[in-house]
């Protein structure tokens, strides 16, 4: 697995295209923002693109083989509470971190909708499923969450509050995103883009 250095911070003045785009999905208040903040600690440059209604966290990651890569983590502005995400949110994403809250069953049930919407826009990007807030009761990690096995998704128990597994999730997301990009990316999406242009 590629080691991702957490030591470098982003260049705040240049908003060129990143090498990778990783999006976060899941119900309101499942802890998406908290997870990103926990992973990046102070080593990021948040930017608000108000026109996109999201917060974008850029991270310069250094891989095991020394190559540098820039990753944009896309976080919502809470609009998932009453509307579906705008297509631009999904556009050219390389990986997705889908989050639910183990203390609220509804957030697990709603994964069906989130996953459905994701696949509508990004047919083949890797998607990691994350069960957050395990710090509330660690016994929950003995439970089986079928959604991951049903859809063949990498699955992690995490806690944004105490940091358990957070770094692992993001490093895995970056690794899968790179793999996905190298393997040719999302063919269907690229084909559609060509047709549109």
């Amino acid at each position: 697995m590629a080691e991702v250095s957490r030591g470098s911070s982003a260049d705040t003045d240049d908003l060129g295209d990143p090498d990778l785009k990783v999006i976060l999905l899941g119900d309101s208040a499942v802890g998406k923002s908290k997870l990103v903040e926990r992973y990046l600690m102070d080593e990021y440059s948040p930017r608000q693109l108000s026109t996109f209604a999201l917060t974008l966290f850029r991270k310069n990651a250094v891989l095991e083989d020394g190559t540098r890569t820039t990753v944009d983590f896309w976080d919502t502005a809470g609009q998932e509470r009453f509307t579906s995400m705008h297509p631009s949110y999904y556009y050219r994403a390389h990986a997705c971190i889908m989050v639910f809250d183990v203390t609220r069953k509804a957030t697990y049930k709603n994964l069906v909708q989130w996953y459905g919407e994701l696949r509508q826009f990004c047919e083949s990007i890797p998607c990691i499923l994350v069960a957050n807030k395990i710090d509330v009761d660690y016994n929950v990690t003995k439970k089986c969450f079928k959604f991951a096995t049903q859809h063949n998704l990498p699955f992690f128990f995490v806690s944004a509050a105490d940091g358990a597994n957070v770094v692992q999730v993001f490093e895995e997301a970056i690794r899968l995103a790179i793999e996905h990009k190298r393997s040719g990316g999302d063919f269907v999406e690229d084909a559609l883009t060509l047709l549109d242009s």
Binding site: A53, T83, S88
Partner: protein
Amino acid sequence: MSAEEVAKAFAQHFYQTFTANAQSLAPLYNDRSMLTFEGQASVGAQAIIQKYVSIGKLAFDQNTLDVQPSVDANAICIHITGKVKIDSNNPIHYTQFFQLVASGPSQYYVHNDIFRLVYA
């Protein structure tokens, strides 16, 4: 009161009430009112209030307000743009259109209400 004054007073009241307690918006609507919120339609005061209550707390920052008379002096069209904040998230641009219709002297109800978030 001019149409402009009615519109301004209405908008201020609407957003303050929405943020404080959406349930209290009920008197502004009646059975003929219609709301389209992010493409989802609700008809009648009860359904509209139910929709608004389900959305939860939003903080509005109104930016522009435009007013036009409708078919006659009994009705006013209002178009509003601004920013809305959901919980502690970053604000999102929104646009909202109302048609107020007089139900009596100096009394209006919301006949049409259309809300959209605005993305680039």
